[in-house]
Symmetry: C2
Subunit: 155 residues, 2 copies
């Protein structure tokens, strides 16, 4: 998986949170996912299929960060992850994947996006099962961490 | 969403577990998912995209059931959900979606399958975010419950 494929997801995620929540994400170095499991409290997931490849995409948030985004975007901060936060994470996942899809489409990589699914549960782990490299992109903010995982394999 | 769309998933799930694990699933009545959240310990998820529709599909297992399937298929029963169980749930998810895809393809409904993602975490919840009906299909066994959720919307 080359940089041309990853950067659109990083840019889209940073753009979405900056525009929608005035939140500045510090992107860490992408790393290959091996044995270690990244954990979080709420995750948006989305499947991708296309003529060249298929794969899966996820964004996992710490609860603190998800609640802060909720507060900044909608002006209310629930005590914990509720149905509105889950909706918001689904919507953000759609927006980030959609932004990356547009950029990649311009470069000739087309894929169809499935509908998003949101997982909620303290310290859950996500395992993308692809026959190919798995990349984790870590992001930091003052109020918690997020990470994106992207995996593609040949269709 | 009509019965023609749902039955292939029920049949495929029952067939896969009967063939692979000699486990007989009792299928309960499908119900529309409203507010209530179905919970489980390990879930296989898979996105679907096609010319007529797109959607998402998941199978959620109680830990007890996932471990029993592992034991019956591979002859070893780990104490809790580990990497092998996660692999197995991903593989089962692929097989069930693949079986349903074949049946639906024969009926003229084609869709592409994304790669599966497996979620692990005690009592996590799954929320499919589609603009359309969400169906839960409950299944019972002597050693725990499973449920399938299928959601489609117009592409």
């Amino acid at each position: 998986m080359n940089v041309e494929f990853i950067n659109p997801f990083i840019s889209a995620f940073k753009n979405v949170l900056l525009t929608m929540a005035q939140l500045d994400l510090a992107a860490g170095a992408p790393k290959k996912k091996t044995e270690e499991l990244a954990q979080g409290d709420v995750t948006g997931l989305l499947g991708m299929t296309g003529p060249q490849t298929k794969g899966s995409f996820s964004i996992t948030f710490d609860e603190t960060l998800a609640l802060e985004i909720m507060s900044r975007m909608l002006g209310e901060k629930p005590a914990s992850i509720n149905a509105e936060v889950i909706d918001l994470v689904g919507e953000l996942t759609n927006m980030v994947a959609g932004g990356a899809k547009n950029t990649l489409g311009e470069k000739g990589y087309d894929f169809g996006m499935a509908t998003p699914v949101v997982v909620s549960g303290k310290d859950h782990t996500i395992t993308h099962r692809v026959d190919g490299p798995k990349l984790i992109l870590p992001f930091k903010t003052d109020v918690g961490k997020a990470h994106i995982e992207i995996c593609f394999e040949k269709a």
